[in-house]
Amino acid sequence: MAKKTYDLLFKLLLIGDSGVGKTCLLFRFSDDAFNTTFISTIGIDFKIKTVELGGKKIKLQIWDTAGQERFHTITTSYYRGAMGIMLVYDITNAKTFENISKWLRNIDEHANEDVEKMILGNKCDMEDKRQVATARGDSIAKEHCIPFLETSAKANINVEKAFMDLAQAILNKTPGRVAEPGGVNVSSQETGSKKCC
């Protein structure tokens, strides 16, 4: 059985329209690499990364979801357990930005009320193809009191920061919390990890 090698476990979720670069962002963060040839995510995907924040070892369990409407019944079931949600659009595709409000409603409907959110405008390296001004991203984020960053998985801009900021926000809310390693723990009566945040 695996030993507990971390102090806290945070569950994060990546959502947003198909093709905005969710999988690429996650790959950049977890493997520090960029790959243009990702196949489309069907259902969900999953990655783990352990980081250090405020002297604590934090294990990030990150769920990557499929963007297309068809998969929403599958993917919304993960909203509930998520402590942080990363909402991604593509700055070179206006439609993906317009859908941000739809995704926000989804979060309201399915996620825990106090879930930490963050909006990311990805592909910010492609300035010549930009369709969504930074100010527009900023303003929708302010309107909903959500932190906002423009990122590029390709050029490695703000990716680490985005994940760390989100983790920090969760950490700030959970002072002195003890790890509840969902999954590592075998005693099935202890379902504490479900009631996180």
Binding site: M1, A2, S18, G19, S40, I42, E69, R70, A94, V184
Partner: protein, 403 residues
């Protein structure tokens, strides 16, 4: 060593002979065909033909093949004509007609062709995204096909191809806000194309574009289902098999033939792609539940472990089952798996057994690992160390044990 090699050659030849006899008969024996294909079709030889038979594209009566193929291929050419060429010609003439049209992009009338075009364009953009990233490990789909759709790609064609349409709708959405009639300008964006598409010569089409056209036509003909992500992964292996066959007729008509085989296959598996059926008797939810239930009957400890760590089948089996394992194994293995799946008289019961076998073969790791490790394992099945033949043999064993 040498004798072993000779022995293998002899076995392979015998196997080829079996298939030759089987497929050379005036009337194909469906039972025998299933039995042999279940063991795997000989590589690059008759797999395409076997699949066409197993997927009911070709009738069992050999003498009817030519007539049937001619009929179906003509029907497919008509689909291209009606759904791509004619609308494509209109689009092109609209572009030059300079805005004096009764119908226009901001026409709120639900009958407006533009309204439908917008919906189509959304669907097309999605297909486009997915087809470009089809089987990225394989160069095949990026390569030019020997058999492009001539009417679409020939020089001086007056048709807006799907590729052009995607480019235009990207441009439209970029410029529409700034400039209502600006579809033709905005040069800075033309660079996008050369980056996004691997350069092909004028008049050429990549295989992935053929796949895109098939999916577009399928979605237009099946508006209730439309295009769902993952369909590309179902069509891909079929098209690959037909487009790389040794037979000229098969390669030449790979597009039309794979359209019909895909359509027939989708008729059997489409319920997995329909959200509203997720929880019904025929939907994907039921299949996932069935997998766990059968696993419980076979290996209660393993099942218990998955329950204990709360590893739901949605976390991995959704993809395994919906895509018929096409994302879990390299393409040659996928083709081998599909031989057995298509040969299954009760399609697709055997798929459940293969999934079970995959779990059973990593049972020790599941029993001793924590949730994240198990997740990693089932999301990235270790096909490098667990050979596909081992998986299939285990699946067969499990299916016998249960029946």
């Amino acid at each position: 060593m040498r004798s072993q090699c000779q022995h293998m050659m002899a076995a392979f030849k015998a196997r080829l002979k079996t298939f030759e006899d089987l497929l050379g008969a005036d009337k194909i024996d469906r039972g025998k065909l299933r039995k042999e294909c279940y063991q795997g079709c000989p590589e690059n030889n008759c797999r395409a033909l076997c699949w066409k038979l197993l997927l009911n594209y070709l009738p069992l009566q050999r003498s009817e093949w030519e007539k049937e193929k001619a009929k179906q291929r003509a029907a497919y050419r008509n689909f291209i004509q009606e759904l791509i060429i004619i609308p494509g010609q209109k689009a092109k003439s609209n572009l030059s007609a300079n805005g004096t049209l009764a119908d226009h992009p901001l026409n709120p009338n639900p009958d407006s062709q533009w309204q439908e075009d917008f919906k189509d364009n959304d669907m097309l953009m999605q297909i486009d995204k997915d087809c470009r990233r089809l089987c990225p490990d394989l160069f095949f789909f990026q390569r030019a096909t020997e058999f492009p759709c001539e009417e679409l790609v020939k020089a001086g064609s007056n048709v807006e191809t799907l590729r052009k349409r995607v480019e235009h709708s990207v441009l439209k959405s970029e410029t529409v806000a700034r400039n209502r009639q600006g579809i033709t300008v905005n040069r800075s964006n033309s660079r996008r194309k050369s980056e996004d598409y691997i350069a092909l010569k004028e008049g050429e089409e990549a295989h992935w574009e053929v796949v895109e056209r098939i999916l577009f036509i399928y979605a237009k003909l099946n508006p209730g289902l439309n295009y769902v992500q993952g369909m590309n992964e179902i069509l891909g292996p079929i098209y690959y098999t037909f487009a790389t066959d040794h037979d000229d007729d098969c390669r030449t008509n790979a597009e039309a033939d794979s359209f019909f085989c895909f359509t027939n296959l989708m008729a059997e598996i489409r319920d997995s792609f329909i959200k509203s059926l997720d929880e019904s008797q025929c939907g994907i939810g039921y299949s996932m539940e069935l997998l766990y239930r059968k696993l419980r009957e076979q290996d209660v400890a393993l099942w218990h472990r998955l329950e204990e760590v709360e590893l739901k089948p949605q976390f991995f089996a959704f993809r395994w089952l919906t895509l018929m394992l096409s994302q879990e194994f390299p393409l040659p293995d996928v083709l081998r798996i599909w031989d057995s799946l298509f040969a299954d008289a009760n399609r697709f019961d055997f798929l459940i057994y293969i999934c079970m076998a995959m779990l059973v073969l990593v049972r020790n790791e599941i029993l001793t690992s924590d949730f994240p490790s198990i997740m990693k394992l089932v999301q990235n099945f270790p096909h490098n160390r667990i050979d596909i033949h081992t998986v299939l043999a285990k699946a067969t064993e499990l299916s016998f044990r249960q029946s």
